[in-house]
C-alpha cells in the first residue's frame, strides 16, 4: 500500500500530462489514506470478520479511484463483483466457520513471521520501484475511448461479447448450468426413504406380527449395571450378562474382543474409549435402541 501512495504521488506530479483537477486531487487525498488505513487495518485486526470489513473499505476506495480515472466499467465491476459478491461470500464463509474462532498466534514454522515481514517489505519495495520507474520513464498511451472495443469500457466489451466472442460467451451458460446441477446432485438429500417411514402403530403391529427379530426393543443397561453407558451390558437377575444387551458395534471392536468375558469390567473401560470413536456413527446399534430403524439415519 505504501507503493500505492507513492505511485499516486508520482501520478499526481507527472509532468506533461493534463493537470489533475482540484476535485480529483481532493478525492485522492481523502480516499488514499482511507485505502491505506483499510489495508493496514485488515492486516492488524485480530478478528477475522473485522479484517474482512477493513478489506471491503480498501476495495470500495479502489473502486472509486477507478471511477475517477474514467474507468467506469472497471470501477463498477470492482464494487459489484469484488466488494459485493466475493467479499460477501467470504464473510458468509467466515460466519459459517464461526466468527469467534481466531487464528492461532503461535508460530507454526520457525522464523515464519520474520521471513514473511522481510519478503513483504521486499515485495513492496520491488513493486514501488517498478511503478515509479514505469511512471517516470514511459510514454503515456493516449486515453482510450471506453466505447470502442479496444477501450476496455462496457460498451466495447459488450460489443466483443456479442460479436467476436459470442460462442465462448454462450458456452459459459453450459458451465453455469453444470455448476448449479452439481450443487444439487451433491447436496440433495434423498427423501424417498423418509416417505415410507412407518408410523409407531404400524411398527408395533409389524413387530408383533413377527417381521422383526423381537417384539420389544433390546434391553437397556440393567438396574444392576454399574453405569448407563452403551458399553455397559444389562445384568439378568442372577447377575449374569444379558447377551441381548451387548452392542454389536462395541463387541466387534478389537479391544473389546481381546479381553474375554470374565474380565468384562476391564473390557468396558477400553470399550468406552472405542465408543468415543464410534459413537458418532449414530447407527443405533447400541443395546438400548431398537435395531429395526437402522436405515432411518
Amino acid at each position: 500500500m505504501t507503493s500505492f501512495v507513492e505511485a499516486g504521488l508520482v501520478l499526481a506530479q507527472t509532468p506533461g500530462q493534463e493537470a489533475v483537477t482540484a476535485g480529483e486531487a481532493a478525492a485522492f487525498w481523502v480516499l488514499g489514506p482511507l485505502a491505506v488505513a483499510g489495508a493496514l487495518g485488515m492486516v492488524f485486526v485480530r478478528n477475522a470478520v473485522h479484517s474482512a470489513l477493513w478489506l471491503v473499505v480498501t476495495m470500495l476506495t479502489l473502486g472509486v479511484f477507478y471511477l475517477i480515472q474514467n474507468a467506469s466499467f472497471l470501477g463498477f465491476t470492482q464494487i459489484i463483483v469484488y466488494t459485493g459478491a466475493v467479499m460477501m461470500l467470504f464473510l458468509f464463509v467466515l460466519m459459517m466457520a464461526g466468527k469467534d474462532s481466531s487464528d492461532a498466534l503461535v508460530e507454526a514454522l520457525r522464523g515464519q513471521r520474520l521471513a514473511a515481514a522481510v519478503f513483504g517489505v521486499g515485495f513492496a519495495v520491488l513493486l514501488s520501484a517498478a511503478l515509479v520507474r514505469s511512471l517516470r520513464d514511459t510514454q503515456f498511451a493516449p486515453p482510450l475511448d471506453p466505447t470502442s472495443p479496444e477501450g476496455g469500457g462496457a460498451g466495447g466489451l459488450g460489443e466483443l461479447i456479442f460479436t467476436d466472442y459470442l460462442f465462448p460467451f454462450e458456452l459459459t451458460a453450459a458451465l453455469l448450468i453444470v455448476a448449479g446441477l452439481a450443487g444439487i446432485v451433491l447436496a440433495q438429500r434423498d427423501k424417498r426413504d423418509e416417505g415410507v417411514k412407518r408410523s409407531q402403530r404400524e411398527l408395533v403391529e409389524a413387530r408383533f406380527r413377527g417381521e422383526y427379530e423381537r417384539p420389544s426393543g433390546r434391553p437397556g443397561p440393567g438396574v444392576f449395571a454399574t453405569g448407563n453407558s452403551v458399553a455397559t451390558p444389562a445384568l439378568l437377575p442372577d447377575g449374569s450378562i444379558a447377551e441381548d444387551s451387548l452392542s454389536d458395534l462395541i463387541e466387534s471392536t478389537p479391544t473389546a474382543r481381546r479381553v474375554s468375558p470374565p474380565g468384562w469390567m476391564r473390557a468396558l473401560d477400553s470399550a468406552e474409549q472405542a465408543e468415543g470413536v464410534h459413537g458418532d456413527e449414530g447407527d443405533g446399534a447400541g443395546p438400548s435402541t431398537t435395531d429395526d430403524e437402522g436405515s432411518e439415519r
Binding site: 467506469s72 467476436d164 459470442l166 460462442f167 453450459a174 448450468i177 453444470v178
Partner: protein, 535 residues
C-alpha cells in the same frame, strides 16, 4: 455517457449445418436438465436414456450428413472461434461413437441394483425384505444399512445423463476451438461435469469422493496454468487466435520470453488433461475411485479431447517454433512412457493398472503429436479412436467382475477367472493384448502407424524407447492373463456377474471395433487422413 455512440451490431454469421452436432449435444444436455425437473421419478431413467441416446445418434447423423459435402479445407464459423475441419470432424465422430457406447455403460442398472449412481448407498433395491440385510462396505464402518424398500430401478441419479452430455459438448468444442479463449471455456465445460461424476459412486463413497476432490483440485491447478499461459500468449501476440499467434511467432522481434513461458504453461494444462508424463499424478487415484463407467468414459473421451486440442495447438499455433519445444516434449514422452510402464508393473489393482497403461499410451500419443506431419496427425487420431474403444470395453469388463463387496478390482481375486467364465476372460485377454499392441488388434495398427510416422520425421531414438517400454508394459498385461488362466481360483474370489443388455453392447462394441480396426484399419485411417487443420 455511452448512449451517444450506439451503433447497430452486425450479428456474426453462423454455419449451422457445420456445427449442428455440437448444438444437438449441448441442446440435449439442457433439455435433460429440464426433464430432471419435470418428469416423474419412475420415468426419468427411461426418458433420460432415450433422450441422450437419440441426441447422440442425431448428432452422429448430422455429422454423417455433413462430412461428405464438407469443404476439404474446412470452415471456421462463429467469427473464427470454431474451426470445423477434417481433424475436428474425425474427432467429433470418434467422440460421438465413444460416448454412445459409454452412455450405454453408464445407464447400466442390472449389474448392481439401481446402477452405480444411486443417491444413497442404502438404496439397494432390496424391496420387501424386512430383515437386516448386511450391506457392510469395505470403507464405511457404518453398521447395518437396513433394507430400504426402494425400487432399485428408481435409485439412479439420472442427472448423470445431462452431465455426460455437457462433458461431451465441452469435448467436442475443445477439439474444434480455434482460439485459446474458447478452448479454455470448453476445457472447463468438459472438466466440471467429470469432477462431479467421479464423486458419484455412493456405495464406495470415501474412495469416490476423494478421487473427485483430488481431480477437482489438481484440475483447477491445471486450468489455472492453461489460463496463465493464455494470458501470456495474448500479451505476446495481441490475440488469442491460434493463427494469429503463429503469425506473430513467425515474424516478429517481440520478447520470446512471453511466447515460450505462455506456451509452456498452456501445454502443461493440456498434458494434465491427457494424463501425460509428469502431470499424471491424479490418474491412478481418479481412475480407481470414480465409478467404473465414468472411468471408462473419462479414459476414452477425455484423452481424445485433450490430444485433439493438443494437436490443434501445436500444429496450428506453434509449428513454426517447433525447434524450441520439441526437446521438452521428447522428455515428456519418455517420462510418460517410463512412468506408465514401470509403475504399472507394481500395481495390484486392475483399475490402477489400466490407469498406468493409459499414462504409457499417452506417452506414445505424444510421439505422434510431435511428428507435426500429416501422416502423424492421421496416425495419432487413429490411435485415439482405437485406444478409446479398447479401454472402454476393458473397464466394462472390470465392472462385471464382482464379489460380495462390489467390484473386485484386486488382481488376486481375478485368479482362475478363466475357469469360471471363459468368455469374459477371453474377451479381457483380447483387450489386454490390444493394449499391449499385438498384431490383429487395433492397438498394433495404432502403434504401427504412429511409430512409422515418427520414424519418417527422424524420431527414431524415441521410437526405439517406445518399443522397449511397450515390451515392459506388455509384461503386466500378460501377468493379468496368466493370473486369469493359470492360477487356481481363490476361495471366495470374484465371479462374473451376468451383464445387462447395455453392458453387453458396450463390451461387444469395444471388442468388435478393436478387432475390426486391427484387421481392416483402412477406412478409419483414410478418414483420419482426410485433411489438415483450418484456421
Amino acid at each position: 455517457m455511452f448512449g451517444a455512440q450506439v451503433t447497430a451490431l452486425s450479428p456474426p454469421s453462423v454455419d449451422y449445418t457445420a456445427m449442428l452436432p455440437v448444438l444437438i449435444v449441448l441442446g440435449a444436455a439442457a433439455v435433460g436438465v429440464l426433464l430432471e425437473a419435470f418428469v416423474p421419478r419412475h420415468l426419468r431413467w427411461s426418458v433420460q436414456v432415450t433422450v441422450s441416446l437419440v441426441a447422440l445418434a442425431g448428432a452422429g447423423i448430422a455429422l454423417g450428413a455433413y462430412v461428405p459435402g464438407a469443404p476439404a479445407q474446412g470452415v471456421t464459423t462463429m467469427v473464427d472461434t470454431l474451426a470445423i475441419d477434417a481433424p475436428a470432424l474425425f474427432l467429433w465422430g470418434t467422440l460421438l461413437a465413444l460416448s454412445f457406447v459409454a452412455l450405454l455403460f453408464i445407464a447400466e442398472r442390472t449389474v448392481e441394483p439401481g446402477g452405480a449412481f444411486v443417491s444413497q448407498a442404502a438404496l439397494r433395491g432390496a424391496a420387501g425384505a424386512g430383515g437386516s440385510v448386511s450391506t457392510r462396505e469395505p470403507e464405511t464402518t457404518g453398521g447395518r444399512d437396513g433394507a430400504a424398500p426402494a425400487d432399485g430401478a428408481r435409485g439412479m441419479q439420472t442427472e448423470i445423463f445431462p452431465l455426460t452430455l455437457f462433458a461431451l459438448g465441452g469435448m467436442m468444442t475443445f477439439v474444434a476451438a480455434n482460439d485459446l479463449l474458447t478452448m479454455f471455456i470448453a476445457l472447463e465445460v468438459l472438466s466440471l461435469p467429470l469432477y462431479l461424476m467421479c464423486g458419484l459412486a455412493r456405495r464406495r463413497r470415501l474412495l469416490s469422493q476423494e478421487s473427485a476432490v483430488k481431480y477437482f483440485l489438481l484440475g483447477a491447478f491445471a486450468s489455472a496454468f492453461f489460463l496463465y499461459g493464455l494470458a501470456l500468449l495474448y500479451g505476446y501476440a495481441g490475440s488469442v487466435r491460434l493463427g494469429d499467434i503463429a503469425t506473430a511467432a513467425a515474424g516478429s522481434d517481440r520478447s520470446d520470453t512471453l511466447l515460450f513461458a505462455g506456451f509452456g504453461l498452456l501445454v502443461v494444462g493440456l498434458l494434465f488433461k491427457g494424463s501425460v508424463g509428469p502431470f499424471h499424478a491424479w490418474t491412478p487415484d481418479v481412475y480407481q475411485g470414480a465409478p467404473t463407467s465414468v472411468t471408462g468414459f473419462m479414459a476414452a473421451c477425455t484423452k481424445v479431447a485433450a490430444f485433439g486440442a493438443m494437436l490443434r495447438v501445436l500444429y496450428v499455433g506453434f509449428e513454426g517454433v517447433s525447434w524450441e519445444w520439441r526437446g521438452i516434449l521428447w522428455a515428456v514422452a519418455i517420462v510418460s512412457m517410463a512412468v506408465g510402464a514401470v509403475l504399472g508393473l507394481t500395481q495390484r489393482d486392475v483399475k490402477r493398472m489400466i490407469a498406468y497403461s493409459s499414462i504409457a499410451h499417452a506417452g506414445f500419443l505424444v510421439i505422434g503429436v510431435m511428428t507435426l506431419s500429416d501422416s502423424g496427425l492421421a496416425a495419432t487420431m487413429f490411435y485415439l479412436l482405437a485406444y478409446g474403444f479398447t479401454t472402454l470395453a476393458a473397464f466394462a469388463v472390470v465392472s462385471l467382475v464382482r464379489d460380495a463387496d462390489g467390484e473386485a478390482t484386486d488382481l488376486s481375486s481375478w485368479a482362475g477367472l478363466a475357469k469360471r467364465s471363459p468368455l469374459i476372460a477371453g474377451v479381457f485377454t483380447f483387450l489386454l493384448l490390444a493394449l499391449a499392441g499385438i498384431p490383429l488388434t487395433s492397438g498394433f495398427v495404432g502403434k504401427f502407424v504412429v511409430f512409422s510416422a515418427a520414424l519418417g520425421e527422424g524420431l527414431a531414438p524415441l521410437v526405439v524407447l517406445a518399443l522397449v517400454f511397450s515390451a515392459v508394459a506388455a509384461f503386466y498385461y500378460l501377468r493379468v492373463v496368466v493370473v486369469m488362466y493359470f492360477s487356481e481360483p481363490a476361495a471366495g474370489g470374484a465371479s462374473v456377474t451376468v451383464p445387462g443388455a447395455f453392458t453387453t453392447v458396450t463390451i461387444a462394441a469395444g471388442t468388435i471395433v478393436t478387432l475390426l480396426l486391427g484387421i481392416y484399419p483402412g477406412f478409419a485411417l483414410e478418414w483420419a487422413g482426410a485433411g489438415g487443420f483450418a484456421f
